[in-house]
């Protein structure tokens, strides 16, 4: 889960960035989004998830941001929100492109039926 390549993104890192792509999210929101968007394949536990977020922050792909203006106040404590930096947005797009390329290659080799998404 936590294998990081120097240039690319691990699967979990990719999904964490993806979760923040349409706006900042708070911690548990990231977790549930990752769970949903990976169709239940990735269910990061607390230790793993925040290590990944920490790593993405040191690589300047993710930063702590202000809560979105329409957020209802959370009882008990203020939640921290995390969003993509410009660099993060870039890295996500790169990875998506790479994945598309890899997928197209696979389709080609397996002789996938054309015209189907």
């Amino acid at each position: 889960m936590g294998d990081t390549r120097e240039d690319g993104l691990s699967r979990l890192e990719y999904h964490v960035l993806l979760a923040m792509a349409d706006g900042p999210r708070y911690g548990y929101g990231v977790k549930t989004a990752v769970e949903e968007e990976s169709e239940g394949v990735l269910t990061p536990r607390a230790g793993t998830l925040y290590r990944v977020i920490a790593r993405l922050m040191t690589r300047a792909l993710v930063e702590e941001v202000a809560a979105p203006p329409d957020t209802p106040p959370h009882p008990g404590r203020e939640r921290k929100y995390y969003g993509l930096t410009a660099q993060g947005r870039h890295a996500l797009a790169d990875e998506a492109r790479r994945l598309r390329g890899a997928a197209a290659l696979a389709d080609e080799r397996l002789g996938a039926v054309q015209g189907r998404p």
Partner: protein, 890 residues
């Protein structure tokens, strides 16, 4: 569980925690709730997975320079240099080292898991039954009040009479409220469903006294005039599908139509959890007849009341009873002798079971200690094997603390694995254990492996790790570096005080448990050989309630019905005989009343206090109760010739002391002047209440009284003698459906089953304590065997030298056996001393044997010594087989 996980967050670097701690906490709590909602095992799996993930992530982050640079307290925590990553390394090493010795690991983990599992299981029961408070507000202020009359012929303690209730309730300044109650089975009919269920008819003050409110509807009041009923949550769920519309509906409850006005909460029970409904009874002062004792009374005491002043007040209040309510001279004399008995309600409801459970918790605690002793021993042996390895590590600069840590880490890993296995064992074994438990224990059906029991297990595991690891760890760290120089394999000195101490301690503890279970086994066999006066084998008993038949109106009509029904049952294949009795022994008590003879009738306050029941003639032959003189009832006694009676031997001697022949003599109830009975038979005494009781003097009256209205047996018990006790019930049910459709059939037992139930608390404690002491004996023997085997193996060279110098095989054997028995003997002496004190905890359960029974103490000590001898003999035989040449060559 979450608390443990959240504590693990502390393993992360401080900076990391500052940034993400709150988020992580939120996720752990939310995910744990989700996992718990999916079931117990999901919760446990989540906890374990998350714990591993947190520990691993924390370890990686600690290595990460991002945090280390800023985190100053990581490198130097001082003392033994216990940084988290070092601990992690120790644990990793420990796991690897243990994997290399699977035999050792399996033995250690298995031994501990059994002991910890037993502790978790018993603790779950204790937690639910004893530690959960009673479901009443301020239950510590609730008391039971009974009566006693020292110097009278009444029992040591008996229930009060209705006038006490009124007097206490109106006059006492120390009691806030007072309530009475009773319990019985009666018919409940809702639409087409008719059953006999357990009910209670308490004074309407019961709920206020207990401080309990219904979750639906209201409580009964005096104005309801006994027609309002509150039902239990269990009944509401099972019969009414939790329909709120149940309120206001009328049903046939306990002999007449009554209205359900309230539903109690799921946690409420009183006085036990069999009771399905409570019929509010307005206690009125106008129909009180003083001296009708036997009423159960509870009360709520005002805050800060001490028992002595309460007893004093109640004594004074009771002394004014004759002046307010009247009564006979006998009653007035009894009130003079009267002393109130006040006991806390909690002791009263769960006290009898509590003593057994605490004994069992103590016993499994002892088994855990012994298991720890064994595992510690295994570790000592292992440490000695590794002496050279440890010496090398010390020589290379490892501190003593580091060595202790390494050993402790192994113990911790073993205990953690054992703790996990123990949860599994407890989960599997707990249901089996509960089937053996006595019935009527409040809350027993709610017992399950609770989170606090799991937490308890974790705590016990850590304790076990400390106990198992500390002694050997300290011992092993004291390695002498000289060992490296002399180049021999291990020592030749045979003395190991630590291990001898462990074995002696185990022996002592095992002996305490052995003596305990020995006492219980002797009590059980003594009870089994008691002759109750009736047979237990091949007897099936049941009751039916043939209400709703219009022809059943008085004594004779009920008697005709029962005799006809009896004929039908007797005609079933395999049925030898059928009898009828009002109160089945071991299941129901009998009323006690004063009877007078023609001689004592003149004395207004005279008469003998005797039990009274109703029976037909075949009851005696069917139950196996011998007719000593005269004859049992015959059919005419229940129809054309009323007024005959049968008495038990004890009753006869109380009525006609001095060996007079009771046959043909007349007697009557003291307060029924016109109703005389003539004795036609004398029968053997029976044990009505249980095997520990003394026989009850008993008067058997016929099914029909002198007048048709005198009494009627509406639902007596039938006793059926047959070898087919298993199948006969269904065939009888078919007859009931034919002659009294819809009549509930209930209280179906075999006499053997009732006998087993009456000894259940003893047999349950005996069984579990027996298992615990067997475990203790085996573990103790294994420990001794292992120690001696190891010593012999280590002393092979020395033994070889001795034999080369002419020592005989027998001498060598004797030497080893002597070493073993000396340790065991020391343990036995200590064990005997502890048992002298500890066996008193069992006093309440014992029968026919004293808590300090010499035979049991000597017998069990001898057994312990024999097992010790045997465990020493095996290594001794091996020692005497040492070949001197071989041993010196290697």
């Amino acid at each position: 569980m979450t608390r443990f996980l959240l504590a693990l967050l502390r393993l992360f670097p401080r900076e990391f925690r500052r940034q993400f701690g709150a988020d992580m906490r939120e996720q752990i709590v939310a995910d744990h709730d989700r996992a718990r909602a999916r079931g117990f095992f999901h919760g446990v799996a989540f906890g374990l997975g998350t714990a591993v993930d947190l520990v691993r992530s924390a370890a990686v982050e600690r290595m990460d320079p991002t945090w280390v640079e800023r985190d100053t307290d990581t490198n130097h925590t001082g003392g033994m240099g216990m940084t988290t990553s070092v601990w992690m390394r120790d644990l990793r090493h420990a796991v690897r080292a243990l994997m290399r010795v699977p035999g050792f690991t399996a033995a250690a983990v298995g031994t501990l898991a059994l002991a910890i599992g037993a502790n978790a299981g018993i603790f779950s029961v204790v937690d639910t039954v004893l530690l959960e408070p009673l479901p009443y507000a301020h239950a510590d202020r609730l008391v039971r009040i009974a009566a006693s009359a020292p110097g009278s012929d009444l029992p040591d303690e008996f229930g009060v009479s209705a006038e006490f209730y009124h007097q206490y309730r109106e006059e006492s300044r120390l009691l806030e409220d007072v309530a009475t109650y009773n319990t019985f089975t009666n018919t409940l009919r809702v639409d087409d469903r008719t059953e006999r269920v357990w009910m209670s008819s308490p004074s309407v003050s019961l709920f206020a006294t207990l401080g309990a409110d219904p979750i639906l509807g209201r409580l009964p009041t005096d104005e309801d005039d006994g027609r309002a009923v509150v039902i239990s949550h269990a009944l509401w769920s099972a019969w009414f599908d939790r329909d709120p519309g149940v309120l206001g509906a009328s049903h046939y409850i306990g002999g007449q139509d009554r209205t359900i006005v309230g539903v109690m909460g799921p946690d409420f029970w009183f006085p036990d959890d069999r009771i399905m409904l409570w019929i509010g009874n307005p206690m009125r002062t106008d129909n009180v007849r003083p001296g009708r004792f036997g009423l159960a009374l509870i009360a709520r005491v005002a805050p800060d009341t001490d028992r002595e002043s309460l007893v004093r007040e109640l004594t004074v209040l009771a002394s004014r009873l004759p002046e307010r309510f009247g009564g006979s001279a006998d009653y007035a004399r009894l009130i003079e002798q009267h002393r109130p008995v006040v006991r806390s309600l909690e002791d009263d409801l769960i006290g009898p079971v509590a003593s057994s459970l605490w004994v069992l918790l103590g016993a499994v605690g002892v088994v855990l200690l012994i298991a720890c002793g064994n595992v510690a021993n295994l570790f000592v042996v292992r440490a000695e094997h590794r002496q050279r390895d440890l010496a090398v590590r010390r020589a290379l600069g490892a501190g003593r603390g580091e060595l202790v840590r390494a050993m402790l880490a192994e113990a911790l890993v073993v205990s953690a694995a054992a703790g996990l296995l123990a949860i599994l064992i407890a989960r599997l074994a707990l249901p089996l254990f509960l089937t053996a438990a006595p019935e009527g224990l409040p809350g027993l059906d709610r017992v399950e492996l609770t989170p606090s029991a799991v937490a308890f297990t974790v705590g016990v595991s850590v304790l076990a790790a400390l106990l198992c690891g500390l002694l050997p760890a300290l011992g092993a760290s004291r390695v002498d570096l000289a060992r490296l120089r002399d180049g021999t394999r291990g020592s030749t000195s045979g003395r190991h005080p630590i291990r001898d101490l462990l074995v002696a301690g185990q022996t002592a503890l095992a002996l305490v448990l052995l003596i305990g279970s020995g006492l219980l086994i002797r009590s059980f066999t003594a009870l089994r050989t008691v002759d109750p006066g009736y047979d237990l084998e091949n007897l099936y008993t049941f009751q039916i309630a043939p209400e709703g038949r219009d022809d059943l109106v008085d004594g004779p009509s009920y008697a005709r019905f029962h005799l006809g029904f009896k004929e039908r049952i007797a005609a079933l294949p395999g049925v030898e005989s059928v009898g009828i009795i009002e109160n089945i022994p071991l299941n129901e008590g009998v009323n006690t009343t004063r009877f007078v003879t023609e001689r004592t009738a003149a004395d207004e306050d005279g008469g003998a206090l005797l039990g009274q029941t109703f029976a037909d003639g075949d009851n005696f032959a069917t139950m196996g109760i011998s007719v000593l003189r005269g004859r049992p009832f015959r059919a005419a006694d229940h129809t054309s010739e009323p007024g005959n009676a049968v008495v038990s031997q004890e009753a006869a001697s109380l009525l006609w002391p001095g060996g007079e022949d009771p046959l043909g003599r007349r007697f009557r109830l003291r307060d029924q002047e016109a109703m005389w009975f003539t004795v036609v038979g004398v029968v053997e005494d029976v044990l009505q209440y249980g095997f520990r009781d003394t026989p009850q003097p008993l008067v058997y009256l016929p099914m029909v009284g002198p007048t048709p209205e005198a009494w009627a047996l509406s639902s007596p018990a039938y006793v059926v003698r047959t070898e087919r006790t298993g199948e006969i019930g269904a065939e009888i049910r078919a007859i009931v459906n034919e002659i009294a459709p819809g009549a509930p059939m209930y209280r179906m037992y075999t006499m053997e089953g009732l006998a087993a139930d009456s000894m259940r608390q003893l047999s349950f404690t005996m069984l579990t304590l027996g298992v615990a002491s067997a475990l203790a004996l085996i573990l103790g023997a294994v420990g001794l065997f292992a120690v001696l085997s190891y010593t012999v193996a280590q002393r092979t060279r020395e033994i070889g030298v001795r034999m080369a110098l002419g020592a005989q095989a027998t001498q060598v054997r004797r030497m080893v056996v002597r070493q073993g028995t000396r340790v065991v003997a020391a343990g036995v002496i200590v064990g005997l001393a502890v048992a002298l004190v500890a066996s008193r905890a069992l006093a309440r359960l014992l029968y026919g044997v004293g808590a300090l029974d010499v035979g049991t103490f000597v017998g069990m000590s001898a057994m312990m010594m024999a097992v010790g001898l045997f465990a020493s003999w095996l290594p001794a035989r091996k020692a005497s087989g040492v070949d001197p040449i071989e041993s010196l060559r290697t």
